[in-house]
């Protein structure tokens, strides 16, 4: 029960928030708004799944926003300027991202560097590379793009469940299975608990670390692909600062920044909460959109404080029952 408490609290916050918004704005409780929440946050959700793995393992990945930006520019150039078929371009970019992630993971493991520094270098590298390739926004006009962007499952009430929303849901399900039901997932939790004892247990710490950062970068690449579906363009300035939104979503979703604890489902709700705040502000129409950041900051702070409280409560020795002589 205690283990699930943060996720339950996050879910309750989301539901209460949604109900409050719905009471205030009659059009809020509609399939349109729900489908928009999924579509608009698809790229954030996908990259947040990878971040959940990284943070549970006790690390951090600051490079994801830049990797998304790199992916969008790479795809736009490959498809539009070099006539690479879109599916080949997708495969290519995912391979590049995997190699990039593996390199960061290896640097963290074998040079014993803090993930913060290594992935910060990754952030600059990837963003710099995308600017080097192109500084302008390049439209992608491949037929596949208009097909995918135009296709959606129509929900009653005008909502459109788009392909990218479905992709995000699929990534969450796959991520949940990988984290909670495989040996790799168990190793990720173990790493977050203690690296040294994980190594002593016979887990190949190096290989696991490299795989974790590979997974994060590949999902960032996938998120970049989704981002190009979303905007039908590649732009070197896209997804600036998304790494911070992602970390916020993961932490609001109940994952401990210190590692060893968290659920993929919590991250899903964390992403939705951020989307909900943004939607509320647009519905209101008079609030500055920067309130999104402030609300996220407040929530983040509240959740970290809440987690810390749980840790303190868990560590407290059980109270002695009156009248019993300690043995």
């Amino acid at each position: 029960m205690n283990r699930l408490l943060p996720v339950l609290v996050t879910t309750a916050v989301f539901l209460v928030g949604f109900i409050i918004c719905s009471l205030q704005y009659p059009n809020f409780a509609s399939t349109r708004v729900v489908a928009n929440l999924l579509t608009d946050n698809a790229f954030l959700g996908i990259v947040a799944v990878g971040m959940t793995f990284v943070i549970i393992s006790g690390g951090i990945d600051l490079s994801v926003g830049s990797v998304i930006g790199f992916t969008t520019v790479f795809l736009a150039l490959a498809i539009e300027r070099h006539d690479v078929p879109p599916l080949v371009a997708f495969a290519l970019v995912l391979v590049i991202c995997a190699a990039f992630g593996a390199a960061m993971g290896a640097a963290i493991q074998y040079f014993d560097l803090p993930p913060f520094i290594v992935t910060l270098a990754g952030l600059f590298l990837a963003r710099g590379a995308s600017f080097l390739m192109s500084t302008e926004s390049i439209a992608i006009n491949a037929p596949l793009y208009s097909d995918i962007a135009g296709y959606a499952i129509r929900l009653p009430g005008g909502g459109r469940l788009t392909i990218i929303a479905l992709m995000m849901l699929a990534v969450f399900v796959a991520g949940g299975v990988l984290l909670h039901f495989t040996r790799f997932g168990t190793n990720v939790y173990a790493l977050g608990g203690s690296r040294a004892s994980t190594a002593l247990m016979g887990v190949r710490v190096g290989a696991t670390t490299i795989r974790i950062y590979m997974l994060s970068s590949v999902l960032a690449g996938l998120s970049g692909i989704v981002f190009t579906f979303y905007t039908s363009a590649g732009y070197s300035l896209s997804a600036v600062g998304v790494e911070l939104d992602t970390i916020a979503a993961v932490v609001i979703g109940g994952t401990m920044l210190t590692g060893g604890y968290g659920f993929v489902f919590g991250t899903f709700v964390g992403v939705l909460i951020q989307g909900l705040i943004q939607t509320y502000i647009t519905f209101d129409g008079s609030l500055s959109s920067w309130w999104t950041k402030i609300a996220t900051g407040v929530l983040l702070f509240a959740f970290i404080a809440f987690q810390q409280l749980l840790v303190v409560l868990a560590r407290r020795p059980p109270r002695r029952v009156a009248g019993v002589v300690p043995s």
Binding site: N141, A233, Y235, G285
Partner: protein, 321 residues
């Protein structure tokens, strides 16, 4: 008081006559780029005032310079079922899908200040933008009229190299003075649209032209560079506004202060009131089904010392420039 000042600032008064009470009950969402420049902040505050004047419920979403935020905002406006959407696009590409969704929901979209790629041409109702070639032409015509038949050597402070606004403002000015053989463009260099650079370049112009005695007029692609150039002229002992004529573009508050002080002569306005004509187009479209032209050009009004610059300065300074 502030509201009155805002009203006074909405200088496209010719359009004000078309206002009516029939606009009531409309809800319009505006996806604004952000507040990166003073002009854009002024556009936001003028839009709000214009909406209030027409009793329109106006919802603004500031996208913080991000296209994804603009797309989100448009989707959310569609979900709210607004009557129309205004969009100031941060980039020209990538709007087709979300604008199709708006079209499917029969919500007209009006572009403000910037255009989008040709592929989206039938997805919006109209675009309200300024014509920067025309702005340059207005500046050039004023100069031609003011100097008459006297010979006149002009120096030009260009905007950022490669920026379409700079290219267009130069083109318009060049065309306007082409038929006047007495007016000659003697020097032209970029001042990057900034005050500091405008001052620096003007200093080098003055040196190159023998202390500035030969310069008859300065043309700057924006007011900020002109403010810098005025500073440089004063430091060189010249009298801008009397010895040297000045004409620039944008009509920011500071240039009115200079005009009021007699140190600048003319400015061409890039109006922050893009929303006013857009509101009128939407109201006419909703009430009578009048389809507006695909492009509504805003007025590029010329201001000189005859237009009570002090009063305009007072009314503009609160807009966020």
């Amino acid at each position: 008081m502030k509201f009155k000042a805002l009203l006074a600032a909405t200088v496209v008064s010719t359009l004000a006559s078309t206002l009516g009470a029939q606009a009531a009950d409309l809800t319009i969402g505006f996806s604004q780029i952000g507040s990166e420049s003073g002009w854009r902040a002024a556009e936001t505050s003028v839009s709000k005032a214009e909406a209030k004047k027409r009793d329109i419920t106006f919802k603004i979403a500031d996208a913080q310079q991000k296209q994804e935020n603009q797309i989100k905002a448009i989707r959310s406006f569609i979900a709210q079922g607004v009557d129309a959407i205004f969009l100031a696009p941060v980039v020209a590409t990538g709007w087709d899908q979300v604008l199709k969704e708006a079209k499917e929901s029969k919500i007209p979209v009006v572009l403000l200040d910037r255009d989008i790629d040709a592929s989206g041409k039938d997805l919006y109702l109209t675009a309200v933008t300024s014509d920067s070639v025309h702005e340059g032409a207005v500046a050039g015509e004023w100069l031609a009229k003011t100097v008459g038949d006297k010979p006149c050597a002009v120096v030009e402070l260009q905007g950022t190299v490669g920026a379409s606004v700079a290219t267009n403002r130069k083109k318009g000015f060049d065309t306007a003075i082409a038929s006047h053989s007495n007016i000659k463009l003697v020097r032209s260099q970029t001042g990057d649209f900034t005050r500091a650079k405008g001052k620096e370049v003007m200093e080098s112009f003055i040196k190159a032209e023998g202390g500035g005695k030969n310069i008859c007029a300065v043309y700057a692609h924006n007011d900020d560079m002109m403010v810098g150039a005025i500073q440089a002229m004063k430091e060189a002992g010249l009298k801008p506004g009397t010895d040297v004529l000045t004409v620039s573009i944008d009509a920011v508050p500071d240039i009115f202060k200079a005009i009021a002080a007699g140190e600048a002569n003319a400015t061409v306005e890039l109006t922050p009131n893009m929303a006013g004509p857009a509101f009128d187009a939407v109201v006419a479209y909703k009430d009578k089904g009048t389809v507006p032209p695909k492009w509504i050009q805003t007025e590029s009004k010329l201001y000189t010392s005859a237009d009570d610059p002090q009063k305009i300065y007072e009314s503009k300074k609160g807009l966020g420039y």
